[in-house]
Symmetry: C2
Subunit: 473 residues, 2 copies
Amino acid sequence: MLLSWDQQVMMPEEGTPARSKQLSTVSTLQHDLLTDEEVGELLDAVESEALEGPEAGAVREIRREYERNRRVPRELIEEISETSSEALPVWKEAKAEDDFDAFAPILEKQIELKREYAEHIDPDRDPYEVLFEDYEPYLGLEKAEEILSDVRDHLVPLIEDIRASDVSLADPFDGTFDADVQEAVARDALSAIGYDWDRGRLDTAPHPFSTGTQFDARVTTRFDESDPLGSLFSTIHEFGHARYTLGLRDDAYGSPLGQPRDMTVHESQSRLWENHVGRSRAFWDFFLPTFTDHFDQLAGIDIGEIYQAANQVDPDNMIRVEADELTYHMHIILRFEIEKDLIAGDLDVEEVPQVWNDKMEEYLGVRPETDTEGCLQDIHWSHGNFGYFPTYSMGSVLSAQLYDQAESDLEDLEGQIRDGEFDALAQWLEDNVHAHGKRYETDDLVESATGEAYTAEYFLEYVDEKFGELYGI
Amino acid sequence: MLLSWDQQVMMPEEGTPARSKQLSTVSTLQHDLLTDEEVGELLDAVESEALEGPEAGAVREIRREYERNRRVPRELIEEISETSSEALPVWKEAKAEDDFDAFAPILEKQIELKREYAEHIDPDRDPYEVLFEDYEPYLGLEKAEEILSDVRDHLVPLIEDIRASDVSLADPFDGTFDADVQEAVARDALSAIGYDWDRGRLDTAPHPFSTGTQFDARVTTRFDESDPLGSLFSTIHEFGHARYTLGLRDDAYGSPLGQPRDMTVHESQSRLWENHVGRSRAFWDFFLPTFTDHFDQLAGIDIGEIYQAANQVDPDNMIRVEADELTYHMHIILRFEIEKDLIAGDLDVEEVPQVWNDKMEEYLGVRPETDTEGCLQDIHWSHGNFGYFPTYSMGSVLSAQLYDQAESDLEDLEGQIRDGEFDALAQWLEDNVHAHGKRYETDDLVESATGEAYTAEYFLEYVDEKFGELYGI
């Protein structure tokens, strides 16, 4: 994790060749250690006892990792890791130069390698389904498809209604908002919502991310000087990830019980803080004075304006990480469809730009003019992360379900947020989600936290209510 | 290396428990890999052929590491690594609080562990001699003692003469020198002397150091706002280390041929750039305009004054890393004597503050009033690095020998430096020292670079000439 954080945040440009070898060495060692026959013997031994509770969960997770990894040759692990490291600067330059052809060969290589990887794990199943389970091991691709199609069927007409409405939300940001001041705002926000600076730090990265352990969970953001909210929400988003990591049990460090329950749940935490807290009217009742203290030019802005500005729906935006809460999911669905076809071999790499742009037009009514703002915008495929994208939407969906339950369990959560009190919410998430680590399978964790199965219902209600009110539809 | 760089430069305070385990895991894995029987079989196989040239050197180094590591149990390696990580914050706080008693127990533990370590490697030899060879494997403790006693016998009367002289060198630094401006000066200096920013970076650390590979060699410094030269010379010093690392062959990365020839040679590179370049009149002829551009308050300073200010001898200074070129070696000799006695069991940990202060009085005529400016000032013992200190003086001695040879081989080196041309010197060092990696044993490397055996002669001539002129003695 540190080799990767450093590569994205600190490492000088020409460090790549050595870093690639370092990452590859660590992956290979990890693979060798995990797949050692002694691990299998130890697993056999503990499984012969009737395990219960947390231990049973820990053993289930190690068994799963062991079985998956045993099936993949170490040379392939090594090659994927090396290719990922080599691909990073290639992708960066291709994106900067709007040159998809420069990126295509290494993308092609990653697809082939990951297909091969999936076939080693299970030659009888759809390779994409197998890859997806690296990011969300338990909910299943079928559930993902069901949730994503519920979301699409609901959001497409909603976004069309918004486009058709004559409501235009406040957009009070003119001029330049200094990166340094934005950073100070981000730091104030992190302090206010309870980031533990003794166990974290904030840096900048071209593609914001969070990484770490329960002892040291770091966040990154980036600054766009025309948009003072972008860096703030990205910071709060990454805080949600870091807060999850920091909520894992210290004494379980190194065990599955001290590790996060994969990507759907991880993304539910970031989206909960970003959207349900950060984009709420209650949060801005609390945070607006701090925000305007930093930006003199915003002195006159009122709560109604900032709440609208934080919740603009903009179907014309082409960048996923800048997308609003609604259109975001169309960006995900587009990627989900493309990567499924790439892995299945139903789509050639060179067709990606065209298909991407066609789908953008179909779902959002806009067509990117460059691949920089099209299919080159995301880092994921350069890393070989196929199957990762759907977990973003699945996490958003889960965040609504969890938030609804927290509202039921906590007294006047909205009022607490309005008062700048975030501890009870953070503690609720820690108790119900974080502290369990990987003890439960995803669906059981959701059930244990909310009392019911994973569902899109709360998310769809939430967007209807929120955006219905904002756009008068 | 990255785990350690990050711990000293970037890591949040409470990251220590996880970092300790990470460092320990990496040490143990490294130990396991290196001591695998297969390595022994492969060594036997290659040694049965008549190897020559670089390959022979590489195999000799791997054999040496293999033999040393085979003798030390992995549990001990692990315990030393964990203790080092735990000791770092304990040392930091003890130093901040001037509380030697708080540091003593973990220092005691490190001494015991390192003694045990030495006994595993060779139970029949002086344990300190064995530990010393972790830092300087080939010159031998006897040679170190000879060189250090030559230096002491020569410097003690020279420092006394300086103390007795009525010459007082220029000391033009009054007031405050902003850390930010000092950092800009350090960056300008690094750029001027040829630091490759695409393969490096400058950060701050409480105890400046350099670390990395030929692809990514980083330097750190620290700022004292009353002293604009301290951070500059520490930066140039660390540049010397980094330039050595960057001069290793890219295509030998991962082999002993792409690794530095241990501490004496490493320190010769840092001291050569710090003292023979950075503290020379020629360097200041070149750099003074840049320096005064940054500091308005120094506008009137002339070359004579800055040269004197850069070469003040101050026997009253108590901090090793702030010491001048001459008294520095008395700080080293003191540590060398104390750590030899600690490892031999001739000195108890609780006696260290008293003995330290007594020796300071004996060698330099000053007595520290606190342990913060006495025996708690250095990080080394907290890391368990016993045997490291003497290589600092040995490196300074070697730097004079190498610089003398570079002056013979290069046309008008002084004139080049006066013109701000450092490339020929850097290339000479790369060709004669860096590019060989560990191919040669230390004495052979010195012989190959300078045509003669390692000697203190050039260093003693250099200090006589330089400080004789400065102090009129």
